[in-house]
């Protein structure tokens, strides 16, 4: 039996939920950041699976653009993390509850 489309969708849903769980339960900003990357990858898997099963290249183009957004997010997000750490000497999100540096 060949892998079905629904298998890939199920795997993607599982990965996305693990990522959401991580964002909810983690306190460290960098760990939360990595869980967000995990969620983006779960969505990418959905795109590639649909592109492959429906023979449409646009799904893979979307993955390409999602990766660019992820790279931009990594650069800006890590800059924010460094700025927070420099001001508070802590990466705990509970301590960074005021929206100013």
């Amino acid at each position: 039996m060949e892998p079905q489309l629904s298998w890939y969708l199920a795997l993607s849903a599982v990965l996305f939920t693990i990522g959401v769980t991580g964002v909810i339960i983690k306190r460290n900003v960098i760990a939360m950041f990595m869980c967000i990357e995990l969620m983006l990858n779960a969505v990418n898997l959905t795109f590639v699976a649909f592109a492959s099963f429906f023979q449409d290249v646009i799904g893979q183009l979307f993955v390409f653009i999602v990766m660019t957004v992820a790279a931009a997010e990594a650069a800006v997000g890590l800059g924010i993390i460094i700025a927070i750490f420099r001001n508070r000497e802590s990466l705990d999100v509970d301590e960074a509850s005021i929206l100013k540096l």
Binding site: N28, A75, L78
Partner: protein, 216 residues
């Protein structure tokens, strides 16, 4: 054969994803996340998307995770200490989320209309490139503007806030101070830098309270 590969790499991906969440040390989380990226890349190959698989390894496992590991090392993060759950409603929320996920997966496994995969060339670099530079040229160009904005934003956020004035509060950490601030006898425009090893040394040089590190 493909089924076997799917089961292998799906298992690897889920296992590594669980490790990302379960680890307390962010560095181990990052390495598990690289495992997720590699196994997803292998799944992309089974989905006939070799270009996306290569970009996944190069951009995600290469560039982004190197940046994350670099920041983890730079900030010298200790392990997350074990504490009480911060909010009481998180456990019921997690249970509800898990129930929704199981319902969703069951629905997909039962009712999604599975098309048959066909051998094709949609995943090859040439077909992606020809679409990207003709029909989808505008999103591609907007992407470059996005990257430029990210570069400017990251530089603005991460640099130190310029030279300190005499009234400025202290910035934590090792830093360089201009001589005109540190030495009263120096000329006011003397910008030769004095290096300090710690927040306390900088506070002593500037004559301010070392605890007064937050700007308000």
């Amino acid at each position: 054969m493909l089924t076997l590969l799917f089961i292998l790499f799906a298992g690897m991906a889920i296992g590594c994803a669980l490790a990302v969440v379960a680890q307390r040390n962010p560095l181990y989380s990052a390495i598990s996340l690289i495992g997720v990226f590699i196994s997803l890349s292998c799944l992309y190959v089974t989905l006939a998307a070799p270009f996306i698989a290569a970009v996944q390894v190069i951009v995600y496992a290469g560039a982004i995770m190197v940046l994350v590991v670099f920041v983890i090392m730079l900030l010298n993060i200790e392990q997350e200490e074990r504490r009480r759950n911060r909010l009481k409603f998180l456990v019921p929320t997690a249970i509800v989320l898990a129930a929704v996920l199981i319902a969703e997966v069951a629905f997909m496994l039962v009712s999604v209309n599975n098309p048959t995969p066909a051998v094709s060339d949609i995943g090859l670099t040439s077909s992606i490139g020809s679409q990207l530079f003709t029909r989808y040229l505008l999103p591609f160009e907007i992407t470059s503007i996005l990257l430029l904005m990210a570069i400017v934003g990251a530089m603005t956020l991460a640099r130190r806030g310029g030279l300190l004035s005499a009234e400025a509060r202290l910035i934590p950490g090792a830093q360089q101070l201009p001589l005109s601030l540190v030495d009263p006898n120096a000329a006011p425009d003397d910008l030769r830098l004095v290096e300090t090893d710690s927040t306390e040394a900088a506070a002593r040089l500037l004559g301010v309270d070392p605890l007064n590190t937050k700007r308000d």
